[in-house]
């Protein structure tokens, strides 16, 4: 019995430090982040943002939680639905984690005369572990391709 408990403890410790566990961490962070976008949950999205978060998209660079929340999250949230990501590259260590790849999303326009549309692009989400042990989104970069009208 004693040997069994020791074996369980040792394997638990090793599994907690394994790369598989790290990979799951960033996957879980991104899954929750994307779900928050699809659920139109601005508070949850903002909760993931670091205070000094950087957001870069095309010609703009928004810096700081308030700016990014106002000019990216609040302005974009009403215009999208069904956001999906396809991860091409990912890694995690004790302090940082990132996922990068492509995304696809339905675009909802404010102009009722415009047809339904969808967008695609490339993304990278970089997470950093804070001193309090919480992971926050430190850097996000999106490169969107032209939005295409749906037939």
């Amino acid at each position: 019995m004693k040997a069994f408990i020791t074996m369980v403890l040792v394997s638990s410790i090793f599994s907690a430090c394994s790369p598989t566990g790290d990979a799951n961490r960033v996957q879980e962070l991104d899954r929750q982040f994307i779900d928050a976008w699809n659920n139109k949950n601005a508070d949850k999205i903002n909760g993931f943002l670091a205070d000094d978060v950087d957001f870069i998209q095309g010609n703009v660079h928004f810096k700081g939680k308030a700016d990014v929340s106002k000019r990216w999250v609040q302005e974009t949230l009403p215009t999208l639905a069904n956001l999906k990501t396809n991860v091409v590259s990912s890694t995690t260590d004790t302090r940082t984690a990132y996922e990068a790849g492509t995304f696809a999303v339905d675009v909802l326009t404010n102009n009722p005369e415009q047809p339904r549309a969808f967008g695609e692009g490339n993304f990278i989400l970089l997470w950093k572990k804070g001193d309090d042990g919480n992971w926050k989104l430190s850097y996000a970069q999106l490169e969107d391709l032209p939005v295409q009208a749906k037939n």
């Binding site: 998209q57 010609n59 999208l80 404010n110 009722p112 047809p115 967008g119 032209p146």
Partner: protein, 235 residues
């Protein structure tokens, strides 16, 4: 020999004067233009004709030519007057100038010289007039296209303001086919209006026909992809 030299001087003077007038003509009234051309041509002709005292000849010719040019220019501004086409004007000037030059040059047979000069001058004048006419027509076409695009934009804005769009019933967005059908007005000069900062309907139609949405933040440097003509922002 002296006559030939004088003729060359006359022609060169007329050409230089004509080019100068053409550059200035945009801001001159027809009266001013006519007076200047008449004065220049009259002075040159007077100086050539009056071999004994060229200064007096130039002075008299200039005054007489200027007065005649002013009268012709004023007459051309009369309301209801039928204007000559650029081709006709160029041909007439070419024939007159060519005939005069030909008659002066060919001292042995002024009639033949005048005939040959008139034909050559008329052909050259017609070619110049045709070129000017083409430029006028192109400018008119561009202006008409811009005016049409502006009218379309205003009509579309007024329609939106009245809320008469019936395609958006039940809050659903129209399909691409319906959008194209409603906005496609035929052969509009889309390349021309696409340079306008405002989203003219022809530009919007063109973007949509290519399968892209127009960028509603076009021209806003603070918006993502604010310089892109089609919409890129999706996430």
């Amino acid at each position: 020999m002296k006559t030939i030299r004088n003729s060359v001087v006359l022609i060169v003077t007329a050409v230089l004067l004509g080019q100068s007038i053409d550059m200035q003509a945009q801001s001159w009234t027809p009266q001013t233009k006519g007076a200047v051309i008449g004065a220049g041509a009259g002075a040159a002709a007077g100086a050539i004709i009056n071999e004994r005292n060229r200064k007096v000849g130039a002075l008299i010719g200039g005054v007489a030519g200027g007065a005649a040019g002013y009268a012709i220019g004023k007459n051309s501004t009369r309301p209801g007057r039928r204007h000559w086409s650029p081709q006709a004007k160029g041909t007439a000037i070419g024939v007159a100038g060519g005939a005069a030059a030909g008659a002066i040059i060919n001292k042995r047979n002024r009639a033949v010289g005048g005939l040959i000069g008139g034909v050559a001058g008329g052909a050259a004048g017609y070619a110049i007039g045709k070129h000017i006419d083409n430029k006028h027509k192109e400018a008119a076409r561009v202006a008409a296209a811009q005016a049409e695009a502006q009218r379309e934009a205003e009509a579309r804005a007024a329609e939106r303001a009245r809320g008469t769009n019936t395609d958006n019933e039940a809050g659903s967005q129209p399909t691409l086919a319906a959008y194209r059908s409603r906005n496609n007005r035929g052969a509009e000069p889309t390349a021309l209006v696409a340079t306008k900062p405002a989203l003219a309907p022809a530009y919007v139609t063109n973007m949509t026909n290519m399968g892209y949405l127009p960028n509603e933040t076009l021209g806003d440097p603070n918006a993502p992809y604010g310089m892109s003509e089609y919409r890129r922002k999706s996430w």
